[in-house]
């Protein structure tokens, strides 16, 4: 096999693997490398049947740093503004919508490359029940441009699938 053919084969293999990963929605064990995650990701879509307020595509941001840190936020654009313009004096309904529509956390992350799982080791969360916990995510697809994972126990109950696109 000459060099050109080998390159073509490699390209086909990579393409094929990307296609496989694309088709594997809901099925864990996507092969992943920690380095593939590094960078910034914006929410592209989500499927969270039990969420009180569905997130729109621009409501999420996720940063994986090379040094092992990560930062995550889902901040729902549909949460109503506070009439008082002060979050210390929100009404019960305003506070309730904000708590239901928003979650943010940061910490460190680790990857089980063979199992296709990602674990968030949460240093601090706006949902304090998650502070100090490890949260497992099943990666169902990871290409240069897209990351999909399933959260098997979402904060609002049930599962959630999040789709992220790489930010340039």
């Amino acid at each position: 096999m000459n060099r050109r053919n080998m390159l073509a084969m490699s390209a086909i293999t990579v393409f094929g693997l990307a296609l496989l990963a694309e088709g594997a929605i809901g099925a864990p064990k996507a092969k992943i490398k920690k380095g593939q995650l590094v960078g910034d990701w914006a929410l592209a879509g989500n499927n969270a049947p039990n969420a009180a307020i569905q997130n729109g595509p621009d409501d999420g941001y996720l940063v994986f740093e090379r040094n092992g840190r990560f930062s995550f936020a889902l901040l729902n654009a549909k949460v109503p503004k506070f009439a008082s313009n002060n979050r210390n004096t929100g009404t019960a309904d305003e506070n309730k919508a904000a708590v239901q529509g928003n979650i943010a956390y940061f910490g460190t992350y680790s990857v089980n490359e063979a199992d296709g799982t990602l674990t968030f080791h949460i240093t601090r969360s706006s949902y304090p029940n998650w502070t100090g916990t490890d949260q497992l995510r099943l990666v169902t697809a990871l290409t240069a441009q897209e990351l999909k994972y399933t959260n098997p126990s979402a904060s609002f109950g049930g599962t959630a699938e999040l789709v992220w696109k790489r930010v340039k």
């Binding site: 040094n67 840190r69 654009a77 002060n86 979050r87 019960a92 708590v99 601090r124 706006s126």
Partner: protein, 170 residues
């Protein structure tokens, strides 16, 4: 000029050249280049118009600020003692729990720009856990910046001046 002199002059020149680029680079480093990276929240204090001091996130606040080289910004601040939700579900948080969580934590993301002449940053908030901030441009004035420490001031939406201290996360 003998050979020895030429060698020592070369050595001095080489030394000079290695010293020069280092200091030149340090001088030319923009504020943005100095900001890029991850910072941990070290202090947060609001001085109200009447002079009273408020610590929204407690006196030992927790948080992170990420300035990406691509101009993206991520911020999260929280009290260390946010109350856990007894029902173990945000959807069924009690009114008291929701109030404490909203007042005691803040997260937003967007983009940032830096004005070197004014020593000012402008944060564009594409999303915020406090919805009144969504879409706003917020000015931050840098009061101190070293390799390991960043301090900035901002005018609070609800009045008064907020001073934030950050330490570079290793």
């Amino acid at each position: 000029m003998n050979r020895r002199s030429i060698l020592s002059i070369s050595a001095i020149t080489a030394l000079g050249l290695t010293v020069l680029p280092g200091s030149a680079v340090a001088q030319q480093k923009t504020l943005k280049e100095q900001l890029v990276g991850t910072w941990s929240l070290a202090s947060w204090e609001q001085v109200m118009p009447d002079g009273s001091k408020v610590h929204n996130y407690g006196t030992n606040p927790k948080g992170v600020v990420v300035f990406d080289a691509n101009g993206r910004l991520f911020v999260m601040f929280a009290r260390p003692d946010l109350p856990k939700i007894a029902s173990n579900a945000p959807r069924t948080a009690s009114a008291e729990e929701a109030k404490a969580l909203v007042a005691g934590s803040l997260a937003y993301f967007g983009t940032y720009t830096v004005n070197d002449a004014d020593k000012a940053m402008s944060f564009r908030l594409d999303a915020s856990s406090f919805p009144n901030q969504v879409g706003s441009d917020q000015r931050r004035t840098i009061t101190s910046l070293t390799a390991d420490e960043l301090k900035y001031d901002t005018i609070a939406l609800a009045g008064g001046k907020i001073s934030v201290g950050l330490k570079r996360a290793k």
